[in-house]
């Protein structure tokens, strides 16, 4: 049983590979098909940010456990320019997509938690977790 996986994100094909792999892991952990689709959307949006802003990066996902609760963590990492203002990036006014609740803002809504660590000039790491309900 593979409870972790990782994909280098360099082009659109990698995004599709990431979506496929996260579905498989989500099924393994016990998430429902609708939740697989949510996680695929999360991978898509995080990969989009990597490709648009950093050019390349990676997404990792693995099973998590906390006092009997099971879930999944999705981590997107790049060495791009970083997000100058994280709070703003999560706000509605940041972009058309953000205003409509997709993009990073949408990831936040689909997951139970979202952490963003970004160092200007060094890169960004986004960690999102979702628990089985």
């Amino acid at each position: 049983m593979i409870l972790e996986d990782h994909v280098d994100i360099v082009n659109e094909d990698d995004v599709i590979a990431g979506r496929r792999k996260v579905r498989m892991l989500a099924a393994e952990i016990g998430f429902s098909p609708a939740e697989w689709a949510m996680l695929a959307a999360v991978i898509t949006e995080l990969s989009r940010n990597i490709l648009d802003y950093a050019g390349r990066g990676e997404v990792l996902f693995h099973a998590i456990e906390d006092g009997g609760r099971r879930g999944i963590a999705v981590i997107a990492r790049d060495h791009g320019p970083g997000i100058p203002n994280i709070k703003e990036a999560l706000q509605a006014s940041y972009s058309v997509a953000g205003g409509l609740g997709v993009g990073l803002r949408g990831v936040k809504g689909l997951m139970d938690s979202l952490e963003i660590i970004s160092v200007p000039g060094k890169g960004t790491t986004v960690t999102a977790r979702k628990w089985l309900s």
């Binding site: 599709i16 979506r19 689709a37 695929a40 997509a97 997709v102 949408g106 936040k108 809504g109």
Partner: protein, 309 residues
Amino acid sequence: MREIAGELQREYSDALRDYLARPNERALRRVYEMGRGTLTDGVGVLGIAALHHQALKDVIPGLSEEIEEALLIKRAEDVFIESLMPFEMSHRAFREAIAVLRRMNERIEQEAKRIAHALHQEAGGLLASTHLALEELSHDLSPQGSERLTLVRQLLDQMDEQLRQLAHEIRPTILDDLGLLPALNFLAKGMSKRSGLAITVEGSTEGRLPPAVETALYRNVQEALNNAIRHAQAGAVAVMVSREARAVRCSIRDDGIGFDVSAVTAANGERGLGLVGMRERLEFLRGTLAITSAPGQGAELLMHIPLEG
């Protein structure tokens, strides 16, 4: 526009056919992006449903001989979920934004309460001390000096009155202390005096209402009266409050020149925004606002807020 819609339909049907014949991630990704694109283009969730429905009609006949129907239905569901996912994200974000707005609104009311209190109690207290000091001073003054001091004290009284009124408009303590009807009566009296408009307040809430309901109704009546004074050229306004078993109702009716409801609410003018604000205040409480008006026929605003238990 029709051309784009046709192209989108072809693309969607294509992706659906691809996935139904052989489930693959690439097709799902395509559908996800189409859903995302239609969201940002302002095509609604019903548009997606229509797109999906038409695609099923286009695609199913060509596949139903090779693939079992139950399997086709299952696969089509995967595609539909994918196309709706951006709308689900959007929906969740809006729900969260509404919760944030509600908290902000509460914070603004709290802040208003604090400012009103500072104006009323602290500035009012200082004025009272000033009066006492002047009273003492008046003993040492000549009759002419005393007379001039009286003038100063009259000015101070006016200032006191204005502070009181201002504090009241920012956050009426009477609303917290005595409830909606006394607060509305006080508001009507003040506005009537300033504008010359005859304002009557009638009805009963049959006891206190939840604070959020009292605040929303008070603010909306305030806004409605302001509108009536500024735009309606009305002679009289009647505010009527009534209590139902599980709801409270409040109407504001004026005999002014009326307005074109759809034109005003569609416009982003100050008045349209005022009405939008009123509606939002009510929506937080699952309440509704009905506006009835036509040019030359006055206007009536009817607010309805359900009460729990």
